[in-house]
Amino acid sequence: MKHTLVAWMRDKPGVLNRVSGMLRRRNFNIDSLQVGHSETPGISRMTFVVDGNERMVDQVIKQLRKVIDVTRVEDITDKPMVARELALIRVQCTSETRSEIVQIVNIYRGEIVDVSLDSMVVQIVGSEDRVDSLIDLLSQFGITEMVRTGRVALVRGTTERRFRRSTAVWRARANGTASEDARLTTGGV
């Protein structure tokens, strides 16, 4: 089954590579992956869709948490959520088919964002199903180019727990000698 996971990570160079490299190395099947800024400066938010059984998803989450720059991971599959995807589709058209395409796009509450003599660019935002079904319909006219963002998602209702910055307090000590300090756990999940 498909799971929607959200991961927050420090906005460091190469962090996307760290995460995607780990997923590839562990042979996890990722359907889609989207990264962008979160509400916290310096923290990026990654949404991805994993296809697998409970055990595999459990491993994905645990291995993600082991990546040093990843600060938090959540599986929001079973929570009420708003999940959206944006697609831009360049579809071939002629003077005969143009109006028909416009009608279809309107029904889907999409937008025509660019028009030329023999094609136009359609923008659609919605659930993956809606995007899929519009693409199905438009494919009869001939799709020459297409780009999709992959799923982005937010949990509905309750405001999400803000990312709390926490610090491991740790004093320098000689390498390998026993520490008198209590081991304090850092934040994260």
């Binding site: 160079p13 082991k66 600060t71 926490s166 491991a168 320098a172 390998g176 756990t185 850092t186 994260g188």
Partner: protein
């Protein structure tokens, strides 16, 4: 101060006094800044002959001391040569910090001379890694690197420092706090899970402990012994868990898994509560997973959450540092005896011992005999045995009786041939007065034999070397014999005369061909100050038994073919 000085200042503050490395263009400013530290005796640099061995030496040093080992290399080929050593450390959870030079930051990405994407190359084989392009980040990164390498489940961390950062100047402080949100090295212990585990153990009729490397890393051999004796629970170890409890103890069943003793594997399959401690259910110990310990409730004591449920789904998972969880568990455990269970295991043990190769009357030199004599000659000196990978490694774990944790240093997870000599040098650099034996096969030894030069260079570093020389890549040959109809493709090895080779490096050496010469040679090695090499020309086609075929269940063993003449052979046929 300069970036180069910062590197050494950080190392001094971390208590590092030995590093292993090889200089080159991009790391030269850092080497240049090392001079005053070498002169004042604060840091000693060991020059290696190949960077892979710098990582292995840092690894051996870390395993022998429990401290962070440090290796250093230049950019490009120097750094890429480290990869095998880093992967070895990553698989076996060994804390090492690797420092590499990198081309100046304005040349990054231009395919400059000796440039390689080291951070990209080493990412999959490191716990974490850094590219430093800004002098102001360097102190923090150095501190974070040691912190990450050492805390929680240890692992290798690499710092790639651009040449211009090494020469730039900045403010150095090292008393800052490490700020790593999301890095949770020491999870807090769940009392509920601990109580459940204790209840399962107290109710068990046929309990068994599977003790792994984590016991050694957490330093809880003594607590484990307390638990074992209080509740009379037999212990099977993994390869890296050898010596977690003294193997001469009646409750020690030695190693389990692919080349574990038959009685140990039978115990694993027959137990009703399996207590896994600091181990990760590697395929080499579990065999076929869907037939592994089917009757058992499984308790998994583990620091790394990701290991729980990765291969085996436990009934109870106790997450946390064994140094915390095991002492917290002890008072909850009732003193018990499991006489019926222990007796059953001992019957299986007798059956296994009956077919032991050492009962054969052979006048040829066989490897298990060599290892057993090595144990006889060195047992009182509490040596560290460092093995390479292959048949001799398995024989060592079967026939050397490890009496304390950390006595065996070997590449378990990655199985890196060529590991023995450099790792033994690293372990010996930690303590020159300790007896360190490197045991290698003729194949693996030739992968890193250039490091023999280091023994001389480090003022006669007293590493003793035993080569189990059977003219084959033995373990691969064994697989070819058993699974590929004896088509020995690519496994016969032509070796140099190792005695002459040692002489070329000015190391005393002797060759042994007969069983009666083994002990005199070992005694001569022990009596000789400095390094010594023994080339054991053993019988060629000897196999490691028992063996679990890959993909078979652990009680589905290939046993040693019935011997022709056996002293004291009971005539009991194996049950499978």
């Amino acid at each position: 101060m300069t970036g180069a000085q910062m590197v050494w200042e950080a190392l001094v503050r971390e208590g590092v006094n030995v590093i292993f490395g090889h200089p080159g263009g991009a790391i030269l400013p850092t080497y240049d800044a090392l001079a005053p530290y070498e002169e004042s005796g604060k840091i000693h640099h060991v020059l290696v002959r190949h960077e892979q061995c710098a990582a292995h030496m840092a690894d051996g040093y870390a395993r022998a001391t429990g401290r962070v080992g440090v290796c250093i290399a230049t950019s490009g080929p120097g750094a890429t040569n480290l990869v095998t050593g880093l992967a070895t450390a990553q698989m076996d959870s060994i804390p090492i910090v690797a420092i590499t030079g990198q081309v100046p930051s304005n040349l990054l990405g231009t395919d400059a001379f000796q440039e390689s994407d080291v951070v990209g190359v080493t990412q999959p084989v490191c716990k974490h890694n850094y590219l430093v392009t800004d002098i102001h980040e360097l102190p923090t990164i150095l501190k974070e690197a040691f912190y990450i390498a050492r805390e929680g489940r240890p692992g290798p961390v690499l710092i790639d420092i651009c040449k211009d950062v090494q020469t730039a100047t900045g403010l150095f402080r090292y008393d800052m706090e490490v700020d790593l949100p999301g890095f949770e090295p020491w999870p807090s212990v769940d009392a509920e899970a601990l109580a459940q585990a204790a209840e399962l153990i107290n109710r068990a009729e046929r309990p068994l402990i599977l003790a792994g490397h984590g016991v050694q890393l957490a330093g809880v051999s003594r607590e484990l012994m307390e638990l074992v004796e209080k509740a009379e629970i037999p212990v099977v170890t993994t390869l890296l868990g050898a010596g977690n409890i003294p193997e001469s103890h009646p409750l020690s069943l030695g190693m389990g898994g692919m080349h574990g003793e038959a009685f140990a594997n039978r115990a694993v399959q027959a137990c009703d509560v399996l207590i896994a401690m600091g181990m990760r259910f590697d395929d080499r110990i579990t065999g076929r997973l869907d037939r592994f310990a089917k009757q058992a409730k499984i308790i998994h004591f583990e620091l790394d959450r990701a290991e729980v449920g990765k291969n085996v789904v436990p009934d109870v998972a106790v997450i946390g540092d064994l140094a915390e969880t095991l002492p917290a568990l002890l008072p909850k455990i009732e003193a018990r005896r499991h006489q019926v269970w222990i007796q059953e295991i001992n019957e299986w043990r007798a059956d296994s011992q009956a077919t032991d190769i050492l009962n054969y009357e052979v006048d040829e030199l066989i490897p298990p005999y060599v290892i057993r004599q090595l144990w006889h000659c060195t047992r009182d000196a509490r040596p560290i045995i460092v093995t390479d990978v292959g048949q001799h490694q398995m024989w060592e774990s079967q026939y050397y009786i490890h009496e304390h944790s950390g006595q065996l240093i070997t590449s378990g997870g990655l199985g890196t041939m060529g590991f023995a000599l450099p790792a033994a040098i690293g372990a010996q650099m930690a303590d020159r007065n300790r007896l360190v034996w490197a045991v290698a096969g003729d194949g693996g030894f030739q992968m890193t034999l250039q490091e023999l030069a280091v023994l001389k260079q480090e003022k006669n570093l007293p590493v003793k070397i035993a080569i189990i020389n059977n003219g084959f890549l033995g373990m691969v040959r064994q697989w070819q014999q058993l699974f590929y109809q004896k088509r020995y493709v690519g496994t016969p090895v032509v070796s140099p005369d190792f005695v002459k080779l040692a002489e070329a490096y000015d190391i005393p050496a002797v060759s042994v061909r007969k069983p009666q010469d083994v002990v005199p040679a070992l005694e001569r090695a022990l009596a000789t100050p400095g390094p010594f090499l023994i080339d054991f020309r053993v019988k060629e086609e000897v196999n490691v038994y028992p063996m679990v075929a890959p993909g078979a269940a652990v009680d589905d063993l290939i046993r040693r073919p019935k011997p022709a003449i056996v002293q004291g052979y009971s005539g009991v046929e194996p049950h499978w």
